[in-house]
């Protein structure tokens, strides 16, 4: 919450102006109605016409002033809000940028990120509805009270009392009540969404198991419960509004009654009674929105907490700190490495030992889930081993500057992100100064028939799996540092294309350090080493020919592959 206030306070000037204009707007609107009440009361006493004309002129002035200051207030406060949101987005991006890619090992889902985007949006209510309007209301009330005090202390006291109830007591009660309710709605909502997802994903299995109508009934039931919860909440909000309005109206009646009493006892001039009644009516119109402040505050608080939760706990290592890697290409080695993911109950990597000397090439093979990709996660320093040491160029990774490591390594992961933009935009990420000719020649090498200005959708949604993979490979070709790490780079290609691009890769990586993950056992002979993983263990290491001769695990895998149609 403090961070939020800090961010808002960066816009001090705007806050101040909004408060001033808001107060002027509030005071003039109160003044406007009070004055009109006064005018007709005065008119009833048949004063000279010029007095009425003068008062009417004031009335016009107030009216204009009120509208104008409201206009200004809205403009300033919205401008400030947009700036604040802008700042928040940038701060969030900066912070995330610092801890990426590590944070993504924890929050893989785009779902969380999209929630975060929504959360930033939610925070716009903070400034517009939570931060300064209460101050404005307070100022307007204080002024009104002073004014009223001048005529009757009792009436001022009544206004003060019901103001406190409207803005403090009632909202507090509502908030206490609401907190429990919101959770329930969210629960029903997520239950409905979970079941609906299951309904869609499991549709075929439901049809075949003859469970479809049961599931639909479950869903209908859940939808009903969700709607009931919503209805409950809506009626509650209506009830709260009713309390508020009733309170305001009764205050008006009280002011009127006491005022009338004082007029009969000569303690108040009857001339002012209409004015005071209209004043009370207007001032409470301003107070009613205050009842919503707590719930907006709660909402903003939750949004901010979620934003921060992404950032907490990730300050272990700063990417830009550490020694740089001197040797190029460098070697890569694991020394008795064990690794377990935070939530997992089993070791994902068990006692891994290997050395890939500089300038040599190795393939890691094994079934899906055997721990191949985890080796890359450790190599890129996304995770630290639970025990043991990972080294590059003979240096333990802990002491190596991550940004330096990444800049000297050409990486292709299984999931490669493509941004909304042109083919060119997506390629020059890998090489800023690449000429169009160079980009086109790389595309050609990847057998991609793209124009550089062709648009690629977010996440490459308009590309096929094979196109995405080749486009990612094109980036690899462009970056082309002396060390390459490739995770299943050809899995979505047909065998012929795979063979051709594999051949080009072998040409291109002559003399480089290459570690490649593959589930297919193709062309392993040409690698200096094959590492065979099974269930988190490195079961075999060596040259392909030796391993085949040994008739061990790799041999069995190869037999299995032979017993399959090439896919």
């Amino acid at each position: 919450m403090n961070e939020l206030i800090d961010t808002v306070l960066k816009e001090k000037r705007a806050v101040l102006i909004a408060i001033i204009l808001g107060s002027i707007g509030g005071i003039t609107s109160v003044a406007l109605f009070s004055l009109s009440g006064f005018i007709i009361s005065k008119a009833a006493l048949l004063p000279p016409l010029y007095i009425i004309l003068f008062l009417a002129a004031c009335l016009k002035l107030f009216g204009f002033l009120k509208s104008l200051s409201r206009y200004g207030e809205r403009l300033i406060s919205h401008e400030a809000t947009l700036t604040i949101l802008n700042d928040l987005r940038m701060t969030f991006y900066d912070q995330l940028e610092k801890i990426t890619p590590r944070v993504f090992t924890k929050y893989r889902s785009g779902d969380l990120l999209s929630r975060v985007v929504g959360d930033v949006e939610t925070l716009q209510n903070f400034f517009l509805r939570v931060f300064y309007p209460p101050i404005v209301t307070a100022i307007v009330f204080i002024c009104t009270m002073f004014f009223t005090w001048f005529f009757s202390a009792w009436i001022a006291a009544i206004i003060l009392l019901s103001l406190l109830v409207t803005t403090v007591v009632l909202p507090a009660l509502i908030l206490m009540h609401q907190r429990k309710k919101t959770v329930k709605i969210l629960l029903e909502r997520s239950a409905l969404s979970t079941e609906m997802t299951e309904f869609l994903f499991g549709f075929r299995d439901l049809v075949i198991s003859d469970q479809l109508s049961n599931k639909t009934n479950d869903l209908l039931h859940l939808a009903k419960r969700y709607a009931q919860q919503q209805q409950k909440r809506s009626t509650e909000i209506i009830r709260h509004q009713a309390y508020n309005t009733l309170l305001a109206m009764l205050t008006v009646v009280a002011v009127l009654t006491i005022g009338a009493y004082f007029v009969t006892t000569q303690q108040l001039d009857g001339l002012y009674l209409a004015m005071l009644v209209l004043l009370t009516l207007t001032v409470f119109e301003l107070a009613i929105p205050m009842a919503l402040v707590p719930s907006y505050m709660e909402e903003s608080k939750q949004a901010m907490e979620r934003l921060q939760s992404v950032m907490i706990d990730h300050d272990e290592k700063i990417d830009a700190v550490g020694t740089t890697i001197k040797k190029q290409p460098f070697s890569v080695s694991f020394h008795t490495v064990n690794f377990r993911y935070d939530e997992a109950h089993q070791m994902t990597l068990k006692n891994i030992n290997f050395v890939i000397p500089q300038g040599t090439r190795a393939t890691i093979v094994g079934a899906s889930g055997s721990g191949k990709s985890t080796i890359f996660q450790l190599l890129l320093d996304y995770y630290s081993p639970s025990s043991g040491v990972v080294c590059v160029a003979g240096q333990p990774l802990e002491s190596v500057c991550s940004e330096d490591l990444w800049s000297k390594t050409t990486v292709m992961l299984q999931q490669n992100h493509f941004f909304y933009g042109t083919v060119r935009d997506n390629l020059v990420l890998a090489k800023d100064d690449a000429s169009d000719a160079e980009l086109l020649s790389v595309l050609q090498e990847m057998e991609l028939d793209f124009e550089l200005d062709e648009i690629i959708y977010e996440k490459g949604e308009n590309l096929s799996g094979g196109e995405k993979q080749r486009l990612a490979l094109a980036r690899v070709w462009l970056k082309n540092t002396p060390v390459w790490l490739l995770d299943e780079p050809f899995s979505a290609l047909d065998p012929q294309t795979e063979r051709r691009i594999y051949e080009r890769m072998m040409q291109k990586t002559m003399g480089k350090t290459v570690v490649m993950i593959s589930h297919r056992l193709m062309a392993l002979q040409r690698m200096d080493q094959v590492l065979v993983m099974d269930n988190g263990e490195l079961v075999e290491v060596g040259h392909y020919d030796d391993l085949m001769q040994k008739k061990g695990y790799l041999y069995d895998l190869k037999q299995l592959e032979n017993n399959r149609l090439p896919s």
């Binding site: 409201r70 919205h78 940038m90 969404s193 009969t264 909304y420 149609l565």
Partner: protein
Amino acid sequence: MLWLQQNILKNKGLLIAFIVVSILVGGAIIFQSFYIVKIVNAVFIENSSFASLLPTIWLLIAVVIARVLLTTSNSYLGVLLSSKVKQTIREQLLLKWQSNPLQSTLQGQSGSKVTMLIDLIDELESFYRDYIPQVIKSIIVPLMIISVIFYTHFYSGLILLITAPFIPLSYVIVGLQTRKKAERQLVELSTFSGKFLDLLQGLQTLKLFGQGKKQRIHLEESNKQFQKSTMTLLKTAFASTFFIEIVVTLGIGLVAIEIAFQMITFEAMTFAQAFFILALAPEFFNAIKDLGGAFHTGRSSLAAAELVQKELNHEEASVQWGTEEIPKNITLRLIDGGFSYGGKFKMKQLNITIEKGEQVAIIGPTGQGKTTLLNILAGVYDLQEGEVIIGDKRRALVDQQQWFQRIAYISQNPYLFAGTIAENIQMAKGQCDEKALKEALEKAQLDEWLQELPDGFNTSVGEAGRGLSGGEKQRIALARAFYKKPQIVFFDEPTMGLDLKTERAIQIAIERLAQQTTMVTVAHRMHTIYNADKIILLDQGVIQIMGTHEELKNTNDQYQQMIGGQSS
């Protein structure tokens, strides 16, 4: 629009209730002002005693309470109506989706369907909760107020009548002007959020290429751009509010001056009349003004309604079933079958006979209709041309439930529901036949694996439960098949690497299953193909050739190529 209105007209009772309540609210507003004026007038002008006022004060309190109660019940009615309509539409959608054929369920993005069911329908709420009651109120209440004002003092009424149309007019003018802008702005907003999200999701890639900081500049730029265009739009919107407020103030001011003149110069008006009109004038304008806000919420509801309506009206042919008994001997035949997803790819001239107990392997290049054919045979897709014959009856005549009771389908990625392993195998909640379950688990080679789990087959899996690997899921689906004891098994063989142990376990289990049943497999294993009684080679949506391995290996080039390609 039509559709939303239709839904209201179905609830005529509520509509009438809205009108009645609105009339009562109008009455309460008028009487509230009346009593306030009466009290002030009594002490200020008539110098009455306080005690004589008490009945009027009580009446005022009663009217105030009545007004609040009425407004509240108006809102309650709106909530009631929206709840009812929402529930009805959700029901319609769900039933529609339930009867959808599988192909459209699998093709559609499930995320957007979930959003439609929950969020889009929630969007409709404001239409019924706010818009409709407000429209009714905004028509009735101002009319009542202005009638009363006309009755009290003709010229004041005239002033209000002349100024009031400026409010809707300015809405119209500004609305016309900003609408296009606002729509573009909405599009921009979503692309902007999208861009932010895009960048966040791609941060890992950006960092690996050392571009994280550079992209910041782009983000900042588009951020600023977005801010600027938003402000332009807001300025117009605020200007319109400004204009409306000026109109209102002017209107009230004019009335006030006119009244004062009437009182002083002509002495044609009493204080009570004047105060009464002055108290009512703001209520008059407010009721009209509120309509503008309601229009805004109404519009977003309309957009949502259009999407929902489109989905509801989207006609789709589902698999045809009948009511007749399934024949005992379920041979399966396709006669001149044709199928297409609506795109370029078409399957045609599908003629297949699958005898009881036969082992059938479907092979062919990727994307040539293997899984589609499996789905057609299993009864989850329907043919667009030709016939599916079960035994001696057309599929369109036989009972769906009976058919699905006799088959099992093991997909490449079987779906496990939130529940225990046992529930997932019997595909129903609650008690199960433990002996049969254990047998099924053993046959699916799961018994060893289950022993490692603390809760055995009562372990929770699926959404909320333990995440399972692909091999484990397939074996659970196999256990499902063993438990069900079907007459035909449809099996989509895994293409991707499982570890040696799992691979062998699945192979053994499949062989066991094959001994008991007819089996139709989309095959990737040579073993399956060699042992098949019938191999169906599919390419470009057409059956290229059919036969056993022995028959095909020397006669068909394409088959030879497919088989031969393996050892390279």
